[in-house]
Structures are given as C-alpha cells and as structure tokens.
Symmetry: C2
Subunit: 244 residues, 2 copies
C-alpha cells in the first residue's frame, strides 16, 4: 500500500529535507525510523525539499510498504522512534496514483521577521531578526503585485533548474502581531528560493529602499539581480499543502 504522511519539523539542526552525502536530513531520519519500525527498506518521497534551516508544520511525503500495520497507526508508532524536532502529524493510505510533487496542490509558506530593537532569544529559531523599523502597509502594497499568474524569474535562484518560471500566487499577505511581521504566501508551486527572495524584496520595500510599485518593474525584468536579497532560511516555515 501507499502511505501519505504529514510531517512537522524544526529545521534548525538539519541540512534540509533531501538526503545528501554530508549532513543529517529529515528524509534520512524518516527512512531510518520507518525501516526500524517496519523492517523494510523504505524510501520516502517528499512534496517540498526544504532547504537547510527551513521549518515545516506540514510537509507531505509518501512511501510504499507491505506492512499489515494500519496506515493511521504508523504516525503514533513512528513518533516513538523520531527525534523531538521531527513529528509525524498524520498518516493515511492513499491511492497508488498519488504523488506528493506531481499531484496538483496549493502550497502555503510563512516568512517571519522579528522587527524590534533587540533580538528575542525565545523566537530566535523561527524568526529572522531585522532591527530597522519596517512599514507593513507598504510591504502589503508591494505584495499585492505578486498575486496572480506571473513569470517569477526575478524571484528564482540563478542556479535553479525549472522548465518554466511561471507560477500562480493565490494570496500574499503581510501582517504584524506584537513584534513579528508574517509574510504568508499561497501558490500552486514555488521556484527555488522564491519565498525567501520575495521576503528579502519585501523587507527592502518595508525599509524604504524600494517603492511598492517597483515590484511590477522587478517582475517584468525577469532578472534575479533586480530583486532583493535571499532572506535567511531560518525565518521560513512551510505551513502545508492542500491537494485538489
């Protein structure tokens, strides 16, 4: 049977999702725990191969297994074998045709900025500290330009390998609660580093270095060098995916 799992993790201590020769990854930890639990050579396939330091409340992965354990019980049993910074939130059986990356979905990410005079130790792992005051209204005005179907080439890492850089953003909101500014973006897919470059560009808008309407110029340019910098990984959290 094919099992789908929803996985939350604190990415601080991992070299990202995808298995790699150097560094411990989420994918590796899940494979090892599943192999120990089920006694099979299991390889999970993830929806979003998050970068080193990026967090997730609900990444999705699948794997195929011959186990007789009910799919719903796997989450509970697996969590006993996982470190405390990786927790499976749900497990269920899905049709063999379901693939977490090729099935159509809406993905949501949040980029959090701690915008205050001094760092706040209790939020240092999941917010990016930015000292200078940011204008949230201007950031929202700029974010509005991103909504819709666009070529996001300006917001894609130069070394990325995607067939097309056209994506659809359904919503992009910038809100502030206490000292934390949250950029929340939902789309049908994201290019490599896209949310972090959006965040880095919106920070420049908030700081007054770009005018909000310059977002249109940046989009039109289809040139990575005109957008803002790639904001640091630890401010980014993958919130989840909804499949059609």
């Amino acid at each position: 049977m094919r099992v789908k799992m929803v996985v939350a993790y604190d990415g601080t201590n991992y070299s990202g999702w995808q298995i790699q020769p150097n560094g411990v990854t989420i994918e590796q930890k899940l494979n090892e725990a599943l192999q120990a639990l089920l006694g099979e050579d299991i390889r999970v396939t993830g929806a979003s191969r998050t970068d080193a330091g990026v967090h997730s409340l609900g990444n999705v992965c699948i794997f195929d297994t011959d186990t007789r354990m009910p799919a719903e019980k796997i989450s509970y049993a697996l969590n006993q074998r996982l470190p405390e910074d990786i927790v499976v939130q749900d497990s269920c059986e899905v049709p063999d045709t379901f693939h977490p990356r090729f099935s159509r979905s809406r993905k949501t990410y949040e980029y959090r900025i701690l915008n205050r005079r001094f760092r706040m130790p209790t939020r240092r792992l999941d917010t990016y500290f930015y000292h200078y005051p940011l204008d949230v209204e201007k950031m929202q005005e700029a974010a509005d330009y991103l909504v819709g179907e666009h070529d996001f080439k300006s917001f894609c890492a130069v070394n990325a390998q995607s067939k097309t850089s056209v994506r659809t953003i359904y919503a992009c909101t910038v809100t502030k609660e206490a000292d934390i500014i949250t950029i929340r973006v939902t789309g049908n897919g994201f290019l490599y580093n896209m949310v972090r470059i959006i965040a880095g560009t919106l920070i420049k808008v908030g700081a007054g270095e770009f005018a909000p309407q310059e977002m249109q110029t940046i989009l039109d340019a289809c040139d990575r060098s005109v957008a803002g910098p790639t904001a640091p990984a630890h401010g980014l959290t993958m919130i989840g995916l909804e499949y059609e």
Copy 2:
C-alpha cells in the same frame, strides 16, 4: 552608579537564573560578560530567580559599577559578549535606592500549553504539550477564583521559605489561539512554583478532573497536596515587571 537591565532569555540550556555550583546559569553568564566588558568584579542582582528551563522576555537585574560608559550603551556592548539565547533588552541608570526584588512591582508570567493531537517541533521549547482536549472556558472560570488577595499556600512548593504566603493576583486570563492555550497571570509577587502549580491545577480543570468552583476549596485548604501537579518548567515564560 547603579544600572538596571532588562534581560530576555531562552532558559532551555540553563540551570535557571541563580548561580549554583553545578550547571551554567543566566546570572553567571551576565556576571562574566559584564566583567569582561567593564573590567570590574560585577555581581548582578536579579528580580526573579527563575528555575531551570523557564524563559523570560523581561527579567530585571541591577549592578553597581564605576564605569564611564553611559548606562544606555551597556546593553549594546554586552549583547556582543553574550550567547544568542541571552539578550539584554535595555540598560539605564537608576537611583541607588532601587532594588529589583524589594521595590514594589507587578509581575506578569505566561504559561503556554500546546493542546493538540501531536507535538509541534517548532514550539517544543516554550510550550508544554498536552494531548487531551482542554476546556478553556472552564479554565477561565476557575482562574477567576484566584484574582484578589488570598493565602496561596496550596499553590506553593512545600519546601519554599517565605514569611507569608499571602499574595495579590490582579488578573488571570486563559486564552486560546490556534493550538496554544495561554494562562497569563499578573500579581504583586509569586511564591515558589506558584504559577506552575496554578497551571497544573487549571489543566486538571480543563481536562474535567476538577470542577471550576473547586478552586475555592483548594484555596481555602491552604494545603499543597489538594492542588494539581506542578506543570513542567519549559511552558513558563516570565513576561516582565512594572515598578511603581
């Protein structure tokens, strides 16, 4: 001159505030950093000697120094010498008569409970995970009994050494946002483990083990054994102090 500092920390990796023979403490880290910065044998005096694992957004401490460095600059300079889980939020000169424990103040603490089916890795450091659903309205109803001047002996660790166990609670609210229940309590002072015992007792109310009106019986008993358990330290955050 006497300098007052406001200090925030993630208590996860410390054996609490107060210097002790075994284990690294916040007080020790501050003394060491101040001694390195100012070249004097500095000993800070803290307002709240928080326990191991307890966090703070704004604990207060003082120290006396002969430095010519302006008091307001000390926070910036000191943060360069402190680990990333301790951050001074403010420093200013105060009269020699000011003492952080003996001056009258209002203290606010928050106890946070992550109330959902599975643990959430990104909030594991500053929330206490509780799996069974809790009734927030009943918890608020119970919390209302605590407001006012009472003898809180039932909510004090048995080995505590206080002259009196009478304290005044100005406000005690229980709110829920997404999966996190926050117990916020403001008072003129707290007995040893008092907020954690209040939290442990309110959790029992929320789970249906105590009726809300039993809070009155528990208060009247003046007996630690009738209240709920001491909730774990890592759910507790000292929010701050306001001096009169």
